[in-house]
Symmetry: D3
Subunit: 330 residues, 6 copies
């Protein structure tokens, strides 16, 4: 089977109290899985791409749970690296309500993927039938060996002619802006596609344009990128957000836009990742304009149900993009 997209990164167990409870009062935690590149993989697979997800997992019930819930969506997990040591990272999400923002506590240090070593993953084989390799700025932030493996993957992909897509995804809990700048400059320089937000761009690369379009253009030039996509969120309250994205296509110097959605937010974690997955679907099956639209459509729906991974279908994404009614069809 031809794998159009390969994604690489960490998947964590996500634990979150129900019903807007605070962690301190929780007696029950909802269990989901989450991880930027895995989320992107699931979104892309659900829309119709062949997707393989690569990570490193500890061989116990928790690692198995992660693999199960990834392949549940049709993602190929056969190249996951298994180890008997380390741990599966976890993180905790408290869902807020204005004026209390959502809050995240990470407990991901010393995870199996953070101890991945050069040579453990057979990139040559994995990328042999791939069109795109997608990873994010979280993976190299996990540890220096994870950074090495990220760079290794991206370089091999580049050499093999596989399109490289990077989601900048700056995580201040994991590294400093200076460290991120150094490593991400190397990574993004090998990339063809960059997905980011205005805020991350500013923190990591110090780029702040007059407009989103300017920022995208500047990134494309600085790193010699084909496409720069920027997602845009407005947060007038916690339960109601506005969401859209633009994509700058360097070849044509065009800026592509998607509809802006008023979102009733059930769970916004993982939106950017679903954008990435949807973008790759639209981009690979059509063009950059389709990419930004499918990215926004998929990630808009993702925010309306619990969990990090997007559970939309292709038909539903197309329906919201076409301005579908909020009535019940029956």
């Amino acid at each position: 089977m031809n794998h159009n997209v390969v994604t690489f990164g960490e998947t964590m167990l996500r634990l979150s109290p129900p019903d807007h409870e605070r962690l301190e009062q929780a007696t029950n935690l909802r269990l989901h899985i989450g991880g930027s590149e895995m989320n992107a993989a699931v979104a892309a697979a659900r829309l119709g791409l062949n997707v393989r997800y690569v990570t490193r997992l500890t061989r116990n019930a928790l690692g198995q749970l992660v693999e199960n819930r990834v392949r549940e969506h049709g993602v190929d997990t056969s190249e996951i690296v298994w180890t008997d040591s380390n741990r599966i990272g976890t993180y905790y999400v408290e869902f807020g309500a204005a004026p209390r923002a959502n809050k995240v506590i990470y407990d991901r240090a010393y995870s199996a993927i953070s101890e991945v070593r050069l040579g453990e993953i057979n990139w040559q084989k994995i990328l042999s039938d791939a069109q795109v390799l997608h990873t994010s700025g979280i993976t190299p932030a996990l540890s220096s060996s994870a950074a090495d493996v990220s760079l290794e993957a991206v370089r091999i992909a580049k050499r093999m002619g596989v399109t490289v897509s990077i989601d900048l995804n700056y995580r201040a809990w994991l590294w400093t802006e200076a460290d991120a700048c150094k490593v991400m400059t190397e990574l993004v320089s090998q990339a063809d596609i960059l997905i980011t937000t205005e805020e991350d761009t500013k923190r990591v690369f110090g780029i702040c344009g007059e407009s989103y379009e300017d920022v995208a253009r500047e990134l494309a030039q600085r790193f010699d990128l084909d496409v720069v996509a920027i997602t845009l969120r407005e947060t007038p309250s916690v339960w109601k957000n506005r969401w859209t994205a633009i994509a700058y296509e360097r070849g044509t110097d065009e800026v592509h836009r998607a509809p802006k959605f008023e979102i009733e937010v059930v769970d916004r974690v993982g939106s950017g990742d679903s954008f990435a997955g949807g973008f790759l679907y639209g981009y690979l099956t059509a063009d950059v304009a389709a990419g930004v639209r499918y990215g926004v459509g998929a990630s808009a729906i993702k925010q309306t149900h619990p969990g990090d991974v997007c559970l939309a279908t292709l038909e539903e994404v197309e329906q919201v993009l076409s301005g579908g009614s909020l009535r019940i069809a029956r």
Copy 2:
């Protein structure tokens, strides 16, 4: 006991994932019962009418569950027809959030009521002490035999001088607009009261007036109806709707209006049915003007709690109609 209102139609088991989950991710489903005419029966009974509900159920724990939850609200279920074969219909509801609309999957084919036969229900006896027979456009859409029994019921009611109330309730999953037009024309022609929406009227009868009032007037004339009530919903988002209704009274050529409510929507399924139940309460205890008010009051409250059936009390309906405060009384 004098039964002021008799309603006739299907009750299904309703299965819905909690917490805005999608069906694909559900491990738990909330179980409610739902069905247009049963919903109307419960609303009317809770406000104070004597109500009998007639349907056909399979004799197993699921059929028994349906009867239990209907008579829980004081509705008389003694004329339900029981069979050892067939099944209880089910349907699934996914609760959405903008831009994802609520979604319904029906699994109601081959239900016990869809196989009801002429003569199985003793309408003569059932209607002997009734003031109103209420049914909807869903029942005849279930099967041709259910259509036959609907017509039989309406004709006998007409003959016995029982007021006939019909909720148009077009269900595109069950029949075509052409089939609906044919059968509903027959049914509505026997009716005294028609409850509908602008959209259903247009799809089934092709009637689109300049205004709701025009539509109501045209329906009243075409089908020689005493009252035409039209419910009106605006859906700026999934969690916040606006809801009201008008009723045209042919005898006085008056249009009666109810307050328009801003609704924080917990569960909008069954609103129109609760309107019908509330309308009948107001109409039978007072007049058309009261009908439209009680209908809107009851159905406004219904949307604020889970489940298809309205759990308001008479006192609460009157409170919201009188513009009750949103503070906590203590």
Copy 3:
């Protein structure tokens, strides 16, 4: 250990159906504890004060549950009076959605605290190391003996030079406006700080000024108070409220204001009590201006999670007061 604040009053078990269910349909009730002065105690303790809570409880699993959940937040419970008779009061909360308001059913008569007797509580000892005694208008409303003990406490505090803080908290289910006026006049006359709402002030003391500030000034004069704080809620809908407060400081004739918050309301019960706890924190560690700010900050956060007691941390309160972003920090 030095106890800066002592609060006195009833704690009840609170039972509430989940997911906006109505009580009639509930098969599961969430169990929290709630009580005005206990809520204030928890809020103050969580922000950093040394707090002791005094009440009277029945010695069974329910009474023990109450003590546990109070000391869970670091509140000293060692002076609670235990009895083998009476009961723990309960109350039921139905969470609404516009146009259905939240609804409360009290079942608190004959509780252990309502049968507290003069002399049972050793106020001399309890107040010996206290800076503030805080109670509310609910305690004297429970029974005449509870009123006697409230007065006893306040008088001893006054005599010992302990600042007396009263939350007016009128409960129409417990006593008439006339009775409240009589008793509360006595109590408030001994107080230094009064916390109230415009509505309660009007009902109990018949005071209605042109503005909140006028009301506060009039109260301060009539009862010779140092500080009068008034909380202000606007309820455009059930799920979205606006919340703030002012505090009038008689010494300087200044009116202090806090930011006004747009609140996405998860659970508004206990907001005023958290205001009191937060106010005392700000007032004792800084001044009246800080009091009103910490009061509003703590009580704004309290409304965003389930339960009567405030689960904010000092850091979070300061964050929302400084206009913290609604983005996720990661």
Copy 4:
């Protein structure tokens, strides 16, 4: 409609933590309704009798909940007396595991039924079409006025030729053995049928025979009873009990026995009440021998599901009595 059986007594809300949790750790309580005579009513109605249940309830959502869940099973609730004052009694059940026994905390004082007054219930009318009046030793224990009304009911029944059935049901939390003896002697002296346990008989009447049969015979003679039924439970552990009953028929001097069941106990509360309901079904439709069998069959099944009321069907009771297999029929 002919009411074969009328039962009279209290229904409480029952609150119990799930999953063998202790009350102290509960954050969620399951809500059921329970009450000896109501439980008996439901069991009898489900098996096929016409049953009316009489009590006194507070007119609020909790009282309404009680009525709903009684009529859900087809029991006639039209003669319930409603009041705006008092409260609905509650009780708490902790489910144990050996060596920790199940534990009950009652909070039933001052309930609406405990304040029932002579003349409030129209016994003449209610009993006019009844064959049996059933009540228990709990009702007169609630208050002296409830005792008066119990006696009134029993006397009127006696006078009207209605069979009187009493479940002795001694509750040490409600009254002393001496008080119980006095009142129950009066009540049982009017009765035709007595249902009890060996332990209660000993505590209330001081009767301890060599065998169950002797006890039953002595009771029948002392109180001039037609039938004395005694339920028998062995409790080798909390989760596994043995359960059966005997019935002594004075007319024939026969002792009737039922099969002894090994019970995997899910919830044993209400077993005796279901026995009473099942007994009345068997007795009224056949004879004493059938009574004891249907009583044991119904109450055996009741212990296998949550809740005080028996959810068995007639078919299921007959199946377990005929020694049905524990395999799954499919």
Copy 5:
């Protein structure tokens, strides 16, 4: 990828009330998937075989849910046939407690698989790389077309030299013993391996030997089978069963036995299917003796957790087979 095992049959949604509730009282239903051949597929895949599962599903969220939860365990679902019509079958399980047996209500008529047509499934392709085709007596019982397709599959497998394994699985709700005998005779005559119970063998083929071994031998002879495996369950109560199996190997005339397990039963539905999956694992990786051991080990563990499908790992199966301790390893 080489598919060692292909299984074919229906998967249903399974709905069951929690906590030993009866369906009549349920407000929540647990959602699992279940189906004999799918269960076998999951068990075999989890132990380490390459497994493909073939069925026919309706293209909606419910059909998608089924596919997801099958491939979650690494089973290949790429040859599932999708249709826009029909429905996903459902069934309801009530979990009992002695003396109340577990109870099942099927609602599976008119499902997508029951309307499968000859030629819709490309058996030639599907079986090209298979070692074993496994199906059961449920599939041909669903409809005559499903019986045709079952026979088609088995005949093509036979012709292609693929080992045919049949689980007799008689379902009295679906067809008569006579019909089952006729169709199953045809099917089993093509088979190499038969898995069954003594009871089913007697009902379908009228075979009752003196011992399990005799029955197995007679079956092997009558249908020219290589292996006959018989699972054995004793049900002293609902929560505690004894479970084992034997397998007769015709080539050597040997009877192979597995350990007998005392099972604390959480959920026994699907045990036989897990036996089949475990048997195929042992048989294909070793021999008949291993087959019966792995079959019993896997199915013993399956009964200890909720759901129809076996969640054991190979390591766990081997641990229980080697008589592993019931202590906690830490």
Copy 6:
């Protein structure tokens, strides 16, 4: 306040799937706290001792949750050491059913307590008013610095004349038998009381006597101990265990025994720790004989409800020790 007992060690978050689910299928995890020395602290405090618990926690919502749930039971937490780094350890429990044993997955490496440093805890102050210092073999196994601090604590206690109690608690996941032997020999040599199991004694110290009494005697001699208590568990199945203990008192050369309990096991994790807490209560308030009885009574009850910590009351422990009935008191 005088602190009779000080305990020292780690508290983790415990995550466990409900209803005998396996981790792989969980979507919800129950959240408890657990940790050997904390469990002992809670048991001792609930029975009536003054108890202080010392640990090191990360300053976030998870660390705060741990402190809250410890002080909920009246344990003094004021000497807990807080840090901004590290993590709160977690562990996962799968509840089994025969033949599937309970299973534990630890994820406790790099926790705050494992990085505790010499000098961080002010033992001089903490032990100044203590009678007993209790810790276990888990704490020194966490890291070499945790071992250093354990030794430091024990030595200072010894020097100050505080009784030292050690629970051997060997954890094979944390260290080898050889390492445990070396460190525990040092620790136990300073101790007065040793609590252990036969199995741990054998693995750590290689001691296996003919009987439990021999083992206890040998331990007492080898390490110069006053008391050696050994808990004894028999596990005929997962849901039914037998549980008791003996204690050897060196001064009198007596062996004290407690009743042996048949336990219906809801949650056996933490039993040994509750034994320790109960033992210290009996020992400090009476003697060794009382110690072993209260230890067994408290830990027997602990196994009958969810969670690691014992929720018994003193009255309940005395009730089960006196052979209390399994009937419901009412």
